[in-house]
């Protein structure tokens, strides 16, 4: 009993630690005072003003567009790359796999500066395009690592069977292979989307002047104090994601139950 109590208490402490800053941000989003250091009364006004703050809105817009585009493109490139790695012989496979791990294992700051040097070297103007490219580059490995295990589980004879039964290779790919790979592809996409949404370090080095994502916008405001609208926005985003995740969880639970009943 005592042990049980200690375990619960321990988990509770850790969760308090994890959620304390989030609680602070929620509270600050309702703080009428512009300064985070004092409480000026309860207000909803930042939630309204948020939509009139063109700086924050354009940063949000850039962040979302980059996240959607980079995740989509990285998913396509990563899936094709995973198939090519899967099909290559042993030595090239090992070399390719190790090269795939480089962006994951490299410290973000090194990836960031290396890409910055690269873009400047090839005279690509730092801006939207370089942020997008940067995000695609660090997302591709995560897609590969999620699709590869699915490729290994794949029974390659089903693809051949489809061909024997008269499907064209394209048809066989879309109707036989793709559905099997889909869970890995979707996980890869969601991971990429999340990483892109939250990335700061790489964006910071490759973004150039005049464009901001939410992360770099927040960083630029750290010294002079973050605008309360930002707390409101992050609270909205957090709640949206919480609700979405809960819905997805509920649905997959239901599906599992159904599958369990069927099985």
């Amino acid at each position: 009993m005592v042990k049980r109590f200690f375990e619960r208490f321990y988990v509770l402490i850790i969760f308090v630690l994890l959620y304390a800053p989030i609680a602070i941000l929620f509270v600050l989003s309702f703080n009428a005072s512009k300064s985070r250091a004092k409480w000026g009364g309860f207000t909803f006004k930042w939630y309204g003003e948020l939509f009139h703050n063109s700086d924050i809105m354009s940063a949000l817009y850039t962040t979302l567009i980059i996240a959607v585009l980079s995740a989509t493109i990285a998913t396509i490139i990563g899936t094709v790359a995973a198939m090519s790695i899967h099909n290559s012989r042993k030595l090239p496979k090992m070399v390719l796999m190790n090269a795939t791990y480089i962006p994951i294992l490299n410290p973000e700051i090194v990836t960031g500066i290396s890409l910055m040097l690269f873009f400047i070297m090839f005279k690509i103007n730092l801006g939207f395009i370089t942020i997008l490219l940067g995000h695609i580059i660090f997302n591709v490995p995560y897609v590969i690592l999620n699709v590869l295990p699915k490729l290994r589980q794949l029974n390659k004879h089903t693809f051949e069977a489809a061909l024997d039964l008269g499907a064209t290779p394209t048809e066989a790919f879309f109707k036989v292979m793709l559905p099997e790979l889909l869970p890995g592809i979707i996980t890869g996409f969601l991971l990429s989307f999340t990483f892109s949404l939250d990335d700061f370090v790489i964006t910071y080095f490759v973004k150039g002047a005049g464009i901001n994502t939410l992360s770099t916008k927040i960083y630029s405001e750290v010294r002079k104090g973050i605008k309360p609208e930002m707390y409101a926005l992050s609270s909205i985003m957090f709640l949206t994601i919480l609700v979405l995740l809960l819905i997805v969880n509920k649905r997959s639970e239901k599906q599992e139950k159904k599958a369990a009943v069927k099985g």
């Binding site: 375990e7 994890l18 800053p21 090519s84 090992m94 190790n98 580059i137 927040i218 957090f238």
Partner: protein
Amino acid sequence: MNKKLLASPYIIWILIFTILPLALVIYYGFTAQTPDGIVFTLDNIKKISDPLYWKAFLLSARLSLLCTVICLILAYPLALILAKSGNGKKTLLVFFMILPMWMNFLLRTYAWLNLLEGNGVINTILQFFGIPKQQLVNTPFAVVLGMVYNFLPFMVLPIYNVLIKIDDSLIQASSDLGANKFVTFRKIIFPLSLPGVISGITMVFVPAITTFVISDILGGGKIQLIGNIIEQEFTFASNWHTGSGLSLVLMVIILFSMAIISKFDKDGEGAGLW
């Protein structure tokens, strides 16, 4: 499908977007801009021994090691508790463990200022118990706290993932053969969880030793880590050669420590070369 044709685009992709940028860091790290043009030099590498840089590097190493140890101590019991809780509860707890990561990490780190400040939450609680105000913000303590806060899930999740895969029958066999709980842990559970511990250590140590954001926000510019130095060389100082040289040193040190750590991973779940 022509298999050979399929493989070549990805090789080109890697060469252009992964290898070439890194080669540029090496190029800048080993060269200097002089009136006679660009010349080969080791000066950028040697700059790590410059007292200013060396101090920053030592501080980074100390704080990130401390952060890794604290994360390990906090995470292991937590992963054990998570791994043995009931199925539904397990998923829920892991879900709430990951959830905070969906709030921007800069904002979450920034919010710690409100907790740590002179009139912040923690000091208010301390005063309630009659403990005098503590200077918490802009100290190495605050930076380590920020690191632990941000990277703790990266330690918990890999350990948890390994622990849930351990076959229960091994633990039963161990107790059938007369081992008590402590011996079972020391001889069965802990050795089997080592791959998770090792990937946790790398996932915490690497971002911690290279961070410049956490030290910037919670150190208020007073705590200079090697990450801050490198960042400033690239942004304010525009000295790419020095910045690249220092990054190379940092990379080599990280690779070296990862090689040492992975020696403990006998099964070698890593990817070949690394």
